[in-house]
């Protein structure tokens, strides 16, 4: 009897510790903005040889150019064995939905602010359910600098406005 209670207690203790220490916090994020029809990657890449050489891509993914993102190449972030997932520098694998953890490896301060809601964009409810947009919803991971965009029209000047 006592043994059973002890076991039960240990189990609860383990669950408590696991929940508070080991389990990582998940954030309510929408589906990542992958190009349509591109996922799962392994549909095409299965059996293909991985070319680690830095080069301009010619046959596929011509639109991907690494700009303003240091000295990066595909397998710094994508797992070379299974391209449907990403790889952290410590060898841990993460899904595309959790790509913020990958970005957070270098951009720690921004990741911190993103968790608090200071950096980044959230949509939905200020009170209640909301979605935290992923880093990649706004920043193209291959070329993260913001692109200039066309502004909406300026307001009408009062001298040119007609009342009726």
């Amino acid at each position: 009897m006592l043994r059973k209670t002890k076991l039960l207690f240990l189990l609860f203790l383990f669950l408590f510790v696991y929940k508070n220490v080991f389990a990582k916090k998940e954030y309510p994020v929408p589906y990542p903005p992958l190009s349509p029809g591109i996922f799962p990657c392994m549909n095409c890449h299965e059996g293909l040889e991985r070319n680690k050489k830095k080069r301009a891509l010619k046959e596929m993914h011509q639109n991907i150019k690494i700009e303003n993102h240091g000295d990066r190449w595909c397998y710094d972030c994508h797992d070379e064995r299974n391209l449907d997932r990403l790889k952290l520098s410590n060898g841990e694998y993460v899904k595309f939905q959790e790509s913020y953890r990958l970005c957070g490896q270098c951009h720690g301060n921004v990741y911190n602010d993103w968790q608090k809601g200071i950096h980044g964009k959230r949509i939905g409810n200020w009170k209640g359910e909301k979605q935290y947009l992923l880093c990649v919803h706004c920043h193209d991971p291959h070329s993260p600098r913001f692109k200039a965009m066309k502004p909406e029209p300026a307001p009408v000047r009062p001298d040119k406005a007609t009342t009726h």
Partner: protein, 303 residues
């Protein structure tokens, strides 16, 4: 000796009789009999704050009918009160803003703002880097692409001040601060004197010079009495942090439209809220601090 009381009562009766006569005479000019009745009831409507619950419900029904006849659409007019323990605050990251004016047009659409004459609640000022001079700022900028090098952008809208000069200026108390910090206008009570506009140091209020024109397919039919319901001509209107959205727990429209995530909104009384995270952790400033209006709208620079 003259009986003043009797004379007063008589005069009252006379005025009433006269008014009824005028209404009867004007009735043929109104398109429908129900229109005349609606106008009549609107003319003698009480101040919104002094209304009982029943009167407010009657008012909602009347407005819904009025808008249905005018815009040929079913409207939902809300009169929801402020939530308990909520004070709204807004923060804007000036390092992020690129001056694209997406917020301006999202606001126009959400709040049923007049397209012609044009009314916009948000004005985006363009300033030179290293300078913070409103006098030298430009808000008619129209380059091919934004952001332009050498400039930063400074969007200004109603600052929902704690000591709102506009509220003090109103001679008839048609504008007031709600318990959740939103400064609202009773558009049926406003006489359009524009004193509040002169009092506001932020250009936070706009005047309806003409009959508001809203494209038929862009009318937002989910409206709040104190917020985005179609305004009549000759009243002053203003940003209400999208009261019809924020009182339901939603983010304002301008925030959701921002492509760079520069806008933050939430409850100032909740330490876990993102607005408090900004204020507690970043260096924020308020616009025209020296005027002691104490805005609930904060600006910050942060990458």
């Amino acid at each position: 000796m003259i009986d003043f009381k009797e004379k007063f009562v008589n005069r009252r009766k006379l005025i009433k009789l006269f008014a009824t006569g005028v209404a009867a005479a004007l009735a043929p000019f109104a398109a429908k009999e129900s229109d005349a009745k609606i106008d009549w009831e609107e003319y003698f409507q009480k101040h919104f704050k002094l209304m009982t619950k029943e009167e407010k419900e009657k008012l909602v029904k009347r407005l819904e009918q009025k808008y249905k006849e005018k815009y040929k659409k079913e409207f939902k007019v809300k009169i929801s009160d402020a939530m308990q323990n909520v004070e709204f605050g807004y923060a804007l990251n000036l390092s992020k803003c690129i001056g694209c004016r997406r917020c301006v047009y999202a606001c126009v659409k959400e709040n049923n703002l007049s397209r012609k004459p044009q009314i916009q609640y948000i004005r985006v000022l363009r300033m030179k880097n290293g300078e913070f001079d409103v006098e030298k700022s430009e808000h008619y900028y129209e380059p091919a692409l934004v952001p332009e090098p050498g400039y930063f952008y400074f969007p200004v809208q109603c600052q929902q001040c704690k000591k709102a000069p506009c509220v003090k200026a109103c001679p008839i108390k048609a504008t007031w601060t709600e318990p959740d910090g939103i400064v609202v206008v009773d558009y049926n009570w406003c006489i359009g004197c524009k004193y509040c506009m002169s009092a506001c140091p932020y250009f936070g209020r706009r005047f309806n010079r003409g009959e508001p024109v809203i494209p038929e397919n862009e009318i937002n039919t989910t409206v709040h009495y104190l917020g985005n319901r179609p305004r009549p001509m000759n009243v002053v209107e203003k940003c209400t942090f999208c009261i019809q959205r924020s009182r339901e727990g939603k983010y304002p429209a301008c925030l959701e439209a921002c492509p760079v995530g520069a806008r933050k909104f939430g409850n100032l009384l909740d330490p876990e809220d993102e607005i408090r995270q900004v204020i507690d952790n970043k260096r924020v400033f308020i616009f025209k601090q020296d005027l002691n209006t104490i805005p609930r709208f904060y600006y910050f620079f942060h990458d």
